[in-house]
Symmetry: C2
Subunit: 481 residues, 2 copies
């Protein structure tokens, strides 16, 4: 075979552009199988059919889990899944420069994958009705596959994971997008998952608990509280989109949505070049020095453990609690595990602004205790407001009060969404996208920058730049055009 | 100020393209101040003028350094610079799955920066004649600034670092490229430096030991043994280039250099799309599980320490030795420090091939003990041949024998280049770029892929993908057009 024929065999010259165009078509395509409201009913039916139950139990009564004698770390007897250990953090320069905390350690890289296939010429996503014990409504819409390496190497001897073979090499599917993305770096040490979308042109057997939806339908569901789970949102966030054509009828939101559509365009004039964006991130990483050392959980100052839970002495931040799960159709029908219970809900806000007719979003670089690479790019506001309840306004996080005071008609997106229900209990956060007023201050504090949607999509392609909350908001932003 | 005027003030719509074009012009521009051979003479004069001396001393006699009582770790009394600690590595799946080794720990992110300025319309780089104790010829051409955070926060109370103010915020220069890049992950734990090129339009005072060179001149010097140091090479490797126009006169190498010029073009047909390239890296990261735990240096199995050095019991890999440095013009005139002494030289080879008229280079993903993110992208061959001297051919690294047996006329680039002389002693490696024969096997082993030069430049823009040896070879590749 000559190099030329090798090239002809494999070359896909404009594949990346074509992928973006096909996702965009799916985002305006009606589904071939069910409507979004039928999907909601289907999720409800699933929830009722299996009568899941999740009950709190003391940590010391968790089957399969134990506290190590020497360190006090909480671990599974198989040595797999995850552990709760202690972390000593030194961060400089910053107001709070050193602290101890418990942290979830899960070194293995799992798979969050969506299988897509064309029906009637439109890409559909194979989505799952999945129970996660930490979700307040238990069953939410999740990716086709959501598997830790422990899951898919069958450590817990459960049933095989449906559709896993479409995602693991050697595969017969085509990879459309594929990147490593981090998860909550305040709670996990260096945790990432492989976010991947693969396409098949073969017939796919539709198993119980799965359905095919277009991106338009998933976007409708993402505008509702507690329907699309975090794992689905992060996979949605790595999908590139091309600028869609304008809708046939004018609406009141024309200027905003038109600016958003233009923001998807690689050619749209951005306030900053891509080099400037990357330099902004590099500068932030060079500014901080972050030292992370795992320590025995027993040695974490200000945290205490009894047989029931692990908690901060003032009840702040979060605690680690145990749950007993009964479920009919998971890989294992019943199990117990620890979960991280946040002390209060978080608020995640993306401020947005039209600049020269192109929508820009305001992001910040923020260091985090468990970050793999010092800082990540987060939403404009990323905090737990409860933590700051007694502070003076000028000590509260930048833009928090602005976001809380925004007029209702400036709030373009608002929903309560839960974080990963396999690790966190009732981690229900409020997500908002707000259009700023015209008199919004132009001078930005250090570490903040206005980016276009296309620039965010570019960062997403390379992975490990946006934190999971910013990625959720990017997925939500795509529901607005 | 309206958003529009904000935009007008800051927007630089085609800056990234313009930067690539300006670097390309500098790579074909004669210098305004000295020729390449005059620069060589200037380096020699610098070497003679200051009569540097570097002598080996036992580790226990290093002024300012001590072995910690409890761990045996080697550290500086100031608590800064770097430490030599123990590392326990678990890597799966891999042939050797677990080992201990000493590792250099240097958490701070330093700056490797080149200041550029136009003279006669052509960008010139401000380069330095810099002594590093580990370089066999001591003085080499280095970036404008090469500073650890300890250096630039003045831990050792030396003189201020010349030109540092052009690189640190708030700066009055324009940042052209700026990314974090790793260094030898077999010897350093999670080490990265900020690689940055900034431009000034102001007058710059030319200090003793500095000179202005175009990229064409630096490329000429990079074709010679031991002239351009590692820090300069890695900064050169982040510079983007646009396809240059063909030279006026035909040469014997036309087909190869024309394919290389086309390989710089974002529009040139590549064997794989950028998504495929990124998926290849993601897949490699997901394939391995790498656990790194710092342990006391005293506990590293198979390694021993006496007052003289730290070494492997069979004399393999490397040792840690001490040196006493006398120098006239460094920030501090005299000091002692540990250096890592490799047991044998390394061989770094890039195999290249024309595919449909576009030059492609063969890269591999490789895990490394101290990697921040499991694997990095390295050259086709990246090894210390001495380590494999007694193994059967099929146990030796893939393509090692192919590279060693390449006909002389297929070797497009060959030079002996030293690694970072501030940390490594006599780490002289052989770097080669080879054009493969037409019958080179098309089937690649797992973890290998053909990329274009433009795809490498794209990865470089985002940082943390290519290892430092691959970056050196990318810089060398640019000397061939």
């Amino acid at each position: 075979m000559s190099p030329t024929s090798l090239f002809a065999q494999r070359a896909k010259p404009d594949d990346d552009t074509r992928t973006a165009r096909r996702f965009t078509e799916s985002a305006s395509g009606d589904g071939a199988f069910m409507t979004a409201s039928q999907c909601l009913a289907w999720l409800d039916a699933h929830r009722e059919q299996w009568s899941y139950s999740v009950e709190r139990v003391p940590l010391q009564e968790l089957d399969g889990w134990y506290f190590a004698m020497d360190t006090g770390n909480l671990a599974h007897r198989s040595g797999r899944f995850f552990t709760i250990e202690g972390l000593r953090v030194n961060l400089s320069p910053a107001r709070t420069t050193a602290w101890h905390q418990p942290i979830i350690v899960q070194r293995e890289i799992g798979i969050l994958g969506i299988l897509v296939k064309e029906f009637d010429g439109v890409l559909h996503c194979l989505m799952q009705a999945k129970m996660e014990p930490g979700n307040s409504n238990l069953v939410q819409l999740s990716p086709t596959v959501q598997a830790t390496r422990s899951n898919y190497t069958r450590v817990h001897q459960g049933a095989a994971i449906p559709y896993l073979e479409y995602f693991t090499a050697p595969r017969e599917t085509t990879v459309l997008v594929d990147s490593l993305q981090s998860e909550q770096a305040g709670w996990f040490l260096h945790k990432r998952n492989r976010n991947i979308v693969v396409e098949t042109t073969e017939d796919v057997e539709l198993r119980d608990g799965f359905c095919w939806l277009t991106l338009k339908q998933i976007h409708e569901l993402l505008r509702l509280d507690d329907v699309v789970n975090m794992d689905a949102r992060t996979v949605l966030s790595i999908m590139p989109f091309a600028p869609p054509s304008a809708p046939p009828r004018a609406t009141a939101d024309d200027a905003y949505t038109e600016a958003l559509r233009r923001s998807l365009d690689p050619q749209a004039p951005a306030l900053h070049s891509l080099s400037d964006v990357l330099s902004w991130i590099t500068e932030s990483k060079a500014r901080y020095e972050l030292t992370q050392r795992l320590i025995p959980l027993l040695d974490t100052a200000d945290w205490h453990r009894d047989g029931d839970r692990i908690a901060h002495r003032e009840g702040e931040y979060f605690s680690i609690v145990g749950v007993d799960i009964q479920a009919g159709n998971r890989e294992v029908g019943t199990w117990m595990q620890p979960l991280l219970l946040p002390a209060a809900p978080g608020l995640l806000v993306l401020l947005t602004r039209r600049i020269n007719g192109v929508l820009h979003v305001l992001l910040q670089t923020r260091p985090a205790a468990g970050a793999l690479d010092i800082v990540e790019v987060g939403p404009t506001v990323h905090c737990t407001p409860h933590t700051y309840r007694q502070l003076d306004p000028d000590e509260r996080p930048r833009y928090l009060d602005y976001a809380l005071g925004a007029a209702e008609d400036r709030v373009r997106y608002q929903a309560r969404l839960s974080e990963e229900g396999g690790r966190f209990l009732n981690a229900d956060n409020s997500y908002r996208i707000i259009e700023v007023d015209d008199d919004f201050p132009l001078e930005l504090p250090d570490g903040h920058l206005w980016l276009t949607a296309h620039q965010l999509m570019t960062l997403q392609q390379f992975g490990n730049f946006l934190n999971v909350e910013a990625r959720t908001l990017l997925a939500c932003l795509h529901t607005l055009w």
